[in-house]
Amino acid sequence: MPTVMTHMVAWYPDRDRSLEAAAALAAGGASYLEIQFPFSDPMADGPVIQAACTKALEAGFTLSGGFDLIRQITSMVDIPVYIMSYASPAVSMGVERFVTSARQAGASGCIIPDLPVGCDEGFFAYSKSIGMDAVPVIAPNVTHKRLEEILSVSPRYVYTALRAGITGTQTVLDQPLIDFLSVLSAQKVKVLGGFGISSSEQIRALSPYVHAVVVGSHLVRAITEAVSHGRSVSESIRSAMKQWEQ
């Protein structure tokens, strides 16, 4: 099994089944769990995850409930858990309180794509001060100068969107992308690479160039299909992940 960070949305399709999903992802061989807190306006996500966010909010997600779910998950699984959120929930709560709550819930760090280095409301400095990972999200169109700025906060991980665009559109691993990943790998930073990964071929193709492959929309879609066909969420996840081993 290659090293994979799996992505899921808290409260999707509801609290209990998102807990079930987390357990199934860990059991299926994920090395990291990325758990997204749903937001009303997830502008960096595609239609699959946006629809999941809308459903999750309808199912009653709250921030306090979200941290409680994370606590339950981190006590249940023995792999690192990262919280992905948009800026608005974190800023509303106060970025320091948000990161502190994540830590108290047992998460290893947070990923907040619209709090980029320099416009981050103290996210990077505060996380570091309490030993939490603040994971910057970068894209292949990043300039050399900007990459230096981002790496100047000395993150342990960077999260890389491999395709210019939004989550869920197919990623093709072309030469410029491979060059970009090679430049990154030369830095003292572990690369989490994803966006649009859906097949075992893509995972295998990408694995040599990154620390972990991020699989997102593909798994959220598996949950959506399970729900619409009345199947078990954990069963669907298990069979989706089984394919990656082949």
Binding site: F39, A51, L115
Partner: protein, 404 residues
Amino acid sequence: MKHSDNGFFGTFGGKYVAEVLRAPLDELEQAFSEAMADEEFLHRIEDEAKTYTGRPTPLLHARRASEQLGGAQIYIKLEGLANTGAHKINNALGQGLLAQRMGKKRIIAETGAGQHGVATAAVCARLGLECVIYMGEVDMNRQYPNVFWMRQYGAQVIPVTSGSSTLKDAVNEALRDWASSYGDTHYLLGSALGPAPYPDMVREFQSVIGNEVKRQSEGLQVEAMIACVGGGSNAIGFFSPFIEAVEPALYGAEAGGRGDAPGDHAVRMNGQGSIGVVQGYKSRFLLDLDGQVQTTHSVSAGLDYPGIGPQLAHLGEQGRIQFCSIRDEEAIEAVKFFARNEGLCFALESAHAGALAMKLAPDIPPDRAIIVNMSGRGDKDIFITARAIDEQQWTEFLHKEVQR
């Protein structure tokens, strides 16, 4: 402050975007500052403004309205006479020419009321650029005349069905498009909000309104200036040359909707909004306690946006601009009042400013003036105003029209 300090107005503004949008925003910022230093580009804008937009727009002394209200002399800046019927054309033209200067072939835009979409589509038709407009499905239904005209101008109008299917969702969709298309595409954002450089850029292209007013109002004792505020592009352009002075008083009219309950209005200032980061910038937004964006309501599709431009939020916090809220029915009354007394057809958005003028004028002496920005004309609103004012006759007409 008149310009942002590196994208910030006080603590508001910024470039809170996913990294993929950083490069196109930096490119745009650079191109904008180069273009604004290029005399030829500025002349081109001026020439188009004169011959295509129809600038300068008049500043009308509303004598009968002033008499009726029995106070200050009301002057109305007739932005609704600009080509395509609203101030939106000023920004669409500026950014359209900028996009062309940058070598972009395709324009995308969001629209709420549809005025920005119409202006963008018209400019694209004139400049020969491909045009895609994202519009919430709810807005498409209530502003169909604008959808019709966008299509006539050759734009592709894409309905947005996510979230609340209104302006903010159209912004999300446009940003998503841009994240993968910026190589050949310019995102022509319609209001003075979003990540830097948009708030500065949109204000600069809209400041032609205020600059004309400044010249046109020479010799008047101007007590107050009033504009409606959705995202705030007409307001910031209208106020722009007056921001750094102490006078006149500047008023922003927000959509008070149908009540004070969450979801019934779009009042972001005056304590109802909270400081947040949404859609790439920091400002005041209507959020719940967990930072989720709340639904809003206004009779006017252009004022129901849950956020406000960062510069306006900053000027509000500093006390330079006072914000007041106007209910739906007060806006409708203002449409009727100015139609009857001045032969003017206010857009429902601008009628919020008109309604605030009606409230303020009686307490100001007749030797003083107040200037209202009629940011747009109300022809597009006929399906809403006709129903609100005379439902029976309007419904009968629609039935007959369908049967014809």
